[in-house]
Symmetry: C2
Subunit: 408 residues, 2 copies
């Protein structure tokens, strides 16, 4: 049987096992997780089901542990014909029962174009977001609300105003903001938009608000459309908590005309560790991208707990995979301060969201100054001047460098 | 501030850290994952937000690792007011950002009645399923399709007929059956129902079919209703792959009048290991139950990879938690054969689904005999006779005991 290289999803698993058992194990996965068994099928059915049978694509020993025990990577190919148009079908097949099979981790996933075509991908992508936020030539800058729960609408508006005054492109909700006790998402979108317009008179920029999209699944689309109409700048979405197919529905809905910003909350429960679960670049890179996130927040390399260099690079490759879908904007998060901007530009290039909470609110002169400092740093990089040179025109940048470095 | 014991979700985390840092870490979680910060708030706001602030409920050292490093359990209380009516809000809050914080695992969750009341729970539960399947006094018996992918509708019908002829109460799809190339879920429900009626003439029992509920999220409710109308016996649902709030919508929908059978596919990606992720009893016990699964499949203690005795007991407690919701039926899976039935009854009691694949299809005389052997074993237990005694009236049971034990 000729194997079509298109039309096969390749899953790579890290396992620990006896070297002598690997081949049988791989075969057991390939056959057992597709057609079930060859031996119990009559000859007459073999051809018919063979198009659906998984294949062992490779077995690679990574580490010898002694006493014939090894860490190995098994690559299994699953025919695209076995899936429907959902991430649920993909995950249930490649890491469903198998996820419960002891020490096993899904470390790689190759999705062919004919499978990707079944997923919506981002509606806006990098170019669409740039168009939407009127930022053509530089990285975007996003501030994070310091805290939201328990604050009244006027207090929240004030916090929005202070951040917007710094000239940032986007402001995102705290992703744990679910309570509607003092302010519903609709009220916030409405009020912050007023504030953004007022602030634009000074800054020249109408800051976009990434509102946390919340509530029961069957009401999400309706809410997203409403928030879109009310003027939301983006929809912040806890994709792992809700499910990738829930995101896919939102991305595919033509009446939801606002970019989606995926938050990585709960993803660590899947990717933490090395021996179980699913690699971070799969969860936050591949799945988030192809399910339709226009912008994806993920742990940066500059915080206290990072994904590591290799995982981050792989994640970026996935976000930028433009074979079928528009690329998504990466938004590395944690440990970001103005002095880091040249490094961010070196590590990520221009298509990037510079995303900070403490690095804005913790500025000695407050959030407005914090936003201004980031904008000044970005402008310096775009102008090709060092941050040190830029401080002469920007005291707030000078104060930020004095606090967080680097020393100039 | 008086702490109301109702109205607080308690989350227990296993962490590895320096003993000296535990208190600060716990405080950081309690405050940081709710109101953000005390110190940056003006005094005037303290009372207003205090109702939303998390509390450190306990710090317990579990293991001393030397050099001041320990494994500890931190218990944090989150005010119910911080959540909305979704599992997304619960998970994002108690294990959102925190899941990415290095070596940390969610090992316990206490959900108070006022939070549980926001979730639908099972529509049928144990009593409703017993009523529905007309099985009042004994454990239910369920067969699993051996394989589905690639088979034509007549072949699938034949496999259904063979299993139904064994007199089993339920037959479930292979949970990886997504392709509609040869037979849609609707066609299968319709055809299997015909078959079930025919077989009932011999067995006296109309076997219920647990069809895999598949497809995009926005069409699931419509499909579930349709399958319900066509006569589906239950809806098999890959809840972890789709999301707990997707399940909750189905369970809450009054037009979906058919029990839901949750499959644990993908859950191992969350619970595998000890140092990261979320405990199995939380995922498959608590969340599945309160999201509305009437029946929950989980790895049995008799297979090759088990959850362990303690986790299984905790899982069962959660399924049986009837404070607010109807209890769910446990369906331990893997390594189940007729000779195990008395042990199953001792371990689980009467409210149980005896669920087998290989233990039915692998019977020396085929699937019909396999089902009959299980039914004979169950009858023996209900009659208070030993399996050995029962073999005289049941040659198929004798054959099953000869193959799988125990020796009689």
């Amino acid at each position: 049987m000729t194997q079509l290289k298109n039309g096969v999803v390749k899953a790579i698993y890290r396992v620990r096992d006896q070297k002598a058992k690997l081949e049988k194990r791989a075969e057991g996965i390939a056959v057992g997780l597709t057609i079930g068994t060859w031996t119990d099928l009559p000859q007459t059915r073999h051809q018919q089901v063979s198009a659906h049978c998984g294949q062992v694509e490779g077995i690679e020993i990574k580490t010898e542990l002694g006493q014939d025990e090894v860490i190995a990577e098994l690559t299994i190919g699953y025919p695209v014909a076995n899936f429907d148009d959902t991430f649920a079908s993909l995950l249930t097949t490649v890491f469903g029962k198998l996820s419960m099979d002891g020490e096993i981790r899904l470390v790689g996933l190759e999705l062919p174009p004919d499978l990707l075509a079944r997923f919506p991908g981002p509606k806006f992508g990098v170019a669409g977001c740039r168009e939407r936020y009127q930022v053509q030539a530089r990285p975007l800058v996003m501030s994070i609300f310091k805290a939201c729960i328990g604050l009244t609408l006027p207090e929240l508006q004030e916090q929005f105003a202070q951040q917007a005054a710094g000239g940032v492109d986007l402001i995102k909700d705290d992703e744990i903001f679910f309570t509607e006790q003092y302010a519903t998402p609709e009220e916030r979108v409405d009020k912050y938009r007023e504030v953004a317009k007022q602030v634009a008179a000074s800054t020249g920029r109408e800051t976009a608000y990434a509102v946390n999209l919340t509530g029961p699944v069957h009401r999400l689309s309706e809410r997203a459309r409403r928030l879109s109409e009310l003027g939301a700048g983006a929809l912040l979405f806890n994709v792992v908590a809700y499910g990738f197919d829930v995101l896919a529905d939102l991305a595919a809905d033509p009446e939801i005309q606002v970019p989606i910003l995926a938050h990585p909350a709960v993803s660590g429960a899947l990717y933490g560790g090395e021996r179980y679960g699913m690699a971070a670049d799969i969860v936050l890179g591949q799945l988030a991208h192809h399910a339709g996130a226009d912008m994806v927040i993920f742990p940066s390399m500059y915080g206290s707990v990072t994904l590591g260099k290799e995982a981050t690079e792989q994640l970026l490759l996935h976000l930028r995979d433009a074979r079928v879908h528009k690329p998504s904007l990466p938004a590395p998060s944690a440990g970001i301060y103005p002095g880091l901007v040249p490094q961010l530009y070196r590590d990520f290039g221009n298509d990037l969201i510079i995303n900070a909470g403490g690095g804005i609110h913790g500025h000695p002169q407050g959030a407005k100054a914090g936003g201004e400092a980031f904008c000044a740093a970005v402008q310096a990089v775009m102008d090709g001047v060092s941050l040190a040179e830029a401080t002469s025109a920007s005291p707030v940048l000078a104060a930020a460098l004095a606090k967080w470095g680097p020393a100039v």
